[in-house]
Symmetry: C2
Subunit: 444 residues, 2 copies
């Protein structure tokens, strides 16, 4: 977009220095918009979808965004006094208690930690805002922030464009393409720690690759980062972008966020969990996410730390959006409190996605030609296929010639080039055909 009308009207010139430069990248929206119009099979959509019979008792053939009936039920049962008023700046106390219990419940089977060291979740509108607030709290314009080469494309807008941070991109996968490149990330953190305290983001299950570290990789990462924390003497702010927490389909993968490895683990490490109802409770439109800090015992009383973090993050919230939606905090809290009902609904959706995962995994393994290399994946909503032909051209051809919609992603600085396939929104019966069409277009 060139903003010629605003420019000619003299309005572009009246904007702030930042305002003049702002551009909303059209990539994902362009491709998902075209797919809606042109595709028979649409693998662009980043939310779980399918026939209602797949996730609802008594459902039918109508195609829907998956949701959790109990959460919707709780929303609709709310007294207006739980809908109309403002929520407190840092979140509804009921929600903060429930979400903290939810985090502890998820982590407990897989990690040893002292739950007293987990702070009160601070509520903000979605995981995006939580990440943005944490980055703003810990990194000044011009600072370097560490994340992966394969990352949610919006990181660049949130971190670089909005906050003026430099992204140092570690390789997500090792050169053999067999799994996590632990060293690349740790090296990036170590290198950055030579000159500053470090904010580093770990997004697992990863968007766009659908990768969750194995249990062993998680342990190796923990060990190596503890060593950097020891040796560098700098603070490491480890930000866990856990938007897809729990959508894991292989037994050798870590089942829940690596956040669990870092709770109270080192006085130089501040683990921060950014997560939310958007994916975990299939409540994308709710805009309920949160930021949860974990403390080291040497830092003082957790209650005092939480109060001080509430004030700091609360200032960012109050100074940008005032507070978050109240009703959806009540609805999600009620679902968490209800326990079994909601758990079984979530399990059903996860099992649908796990089945799609298995089908696409085996279809890719048996059919993809050597020129198209799938990244390792075992979790999340997506998988990623590396390509030789320019990704955008290929996605265009897939749409035109095969009526298949995918999201092309590329980054000339890292050589990253390929397509993201959202198996979360393609029904199992269409998945083999999805891969067949990709293969057919590659073979042409």
């Amino acid at each position: 977009m060139k903003f010629e009308t605003l420019r000619d009207a003299g309005l572009l010139g009246a904007m702030s220095a930042e305002g003049r430069e702002l551009v909303l990248p059209q990539g994902i929206f362009y491709w998902s918009g075209r797919a809606k119009q042109e595709a028979e099979i649409n693998a662009t959509i980043g939310s779980a979808q399918g026939k209602s019979s797949e996730f609802l008792e008594g459902g039918g053939d109508d195609v829907r965004t998956f949701y959790l009936p109990s959460v919707v039920k709780h929303l609709k049962a709310l007294d207006p006094e739980k809908i109309a008023p403002y929520a407190p700046i840092c979140g509804l106390p009921r929600y903060r208690v429930a979400w903290r219990e939810w985090i502890i419940r998820k982590l407990s089977p897989f990690y040893k930690f002292d739950s007293a060291l987990i702070g009160q979740p601070i509520v903000s509108p979605g995981v995006t805002s939580g990440l943005a607030y944490v980055a703003r709290l810990f990194a000044s314009p011009g600072d370097t922030i560490v994340c992966h080469d394969r990352r949610w494309e919006n990181y660049d807008l949130v971190l670089s464009d909005m906050l003026g941070l430099k992204i140092r991109a570690a390789r997500l996968f090792n050169e053999a393409g067999s799994g996590l490149d632990v060293d690349s990330f740790v090296d990036a953190v170590r290198e950055t720690a030579k000159t500053q305290d470090v904010v580093a983001i770990l997004n697992f299950p990863n968007n766009p690759t659908g990768y969750m570290p194995t249990v062993d990789e998680g342990l190796a990462l923990q060990k190596a980062l503890l060593k950097v924390a020891d040796e560098s003497g700098k603070k490491l702010i480890l930000v866990f972008d856990d938007a897809y927490d729990g959508f894991v389909y292989e037994k050798n993968a870590a089942q829940i966020s690596l956040f669990g490895h870092f709770i109270g683990a080192h006085p130089n490490i501040l683990p921060v969990k950014c997560d939310g109802a958007s994916k975990e409770f299939l409540f994308y439109g709710a805009r309920v996410g949160s930021v949860t800090f974990a403390y080291h015992p040497s830092w003082g009383e957790p209650a005092k730390l939480s109060a001080e973090f509430d004030n700091k993050v609360g200032a960012l919230i109050r100074g940008t959006i005032s507070n978050s939606n109240l009703a959806f905090q009540h609805a999600v809290a009620a679902a968490i409190e209800s326990g079994v009902e909601c758990d079984s609904e979530r399990a059903r959706v996860i099992s649908v996605l796990a089945e799609r995962y298995s089908i696409i995994k085996s279809a890719m393994a048996s059919n993809l030609p050597e020129s198209a290399v799938a990244d390792p994946f075992n979790s999340g909503f997506f998988c990623f296929i590396n390509l030789n032909p320019p990704a955008e051209d290929f996605a265009d051809k897939l749409l035109k010639n095969r009526k298949l919609g995918v999201i092309p992603l590329s980054d000339s600085s890292t050589g990253f080039n390929g397509i993201r396939v959202a198996f979360c929104s393609v029904e199992a019966k269409d998945i083999p055909e999805t891969i067949d069409r990709i293969v057919a277009e590659l073979d042409k």
Copy 2:
């Protein structure tokens, strides 16, 4: 708050330059928190409250936050497909159409304008975020922004602390205290326009004073600002903070936002309407607000301008919070579409507030001593009483000695010192007693 625990843990030092300085002011929350505990009459709460019999058919003596039954009904009737998915970044198209119609419907009886010049509202989570996005789009750190001395206290956090802007505060009232000081605001805009394009905020009905300009004052302001636009050659970005739009209780006051005076009025004036469902639809916790630009015919096609503004503001939205709550956009849109039902519910609430307004106005007129001067008021949720004794001391005494909660506000740089009385949340029967207690404490 001194952040001693974060400091001793080394975490304060690990924060960004901005993060180290951040403080969420406790003022309003401190006083409303104390009032909840200590007050018999609580006039601190900034949302309309009262017995349900005051606003509900078949209501009783239970005290509630006022709401519009039809909006809640529409929310609860939503199909999950209108709850679970993401809303588009700039808002649900249905909502954008409905809110634009709502703006036009409100303005039409009072202003002459070409509705084709009103852009598509851009949705963001509440009026706060809309103001913050507009200020960020048009003002760079270090720039001056014009607003009034009597202003919502959060402006200082949003504009100064978050965006690094300098606030130039015009006097809201003339020296006689009889009405709007048109000259002070216009002078501030003119002075600022000597060195930069100007962003200026007009918040009417005003928080904390409950003042809406008279029709004549509105015309005088329009005329004077058009003259500045002519003579300065700078762009004037006139931002209308219309959070309380339509809550007007006197016939000689402008009934709806002065935004109506500036639509297409001058090629150097960009009017921007920031408003939302929070107060207008008594849906505080919904977090649905919007930003609406109005264009000059010489600027080119409104559709192109809207598309370009969508991209600019969309970048800010996507880069900070991704998108806004979906379900509440549907619910408010449905209420607007339904027309009469919702209008009559709103009228009922406004008439309850108008009655409280009349009672407090006459109680103050007959009882306040000369040492306590009420600011002019005719609208909104609050009124403001100027005091000689330090406002915080007085509010503390009111709580301790009279069990009455109010919000003290003061600003040593402008000499502003007094108490905000929220008649929106005090039942009519308690209002004379509210004033009596203030008078008794003043007389002591």
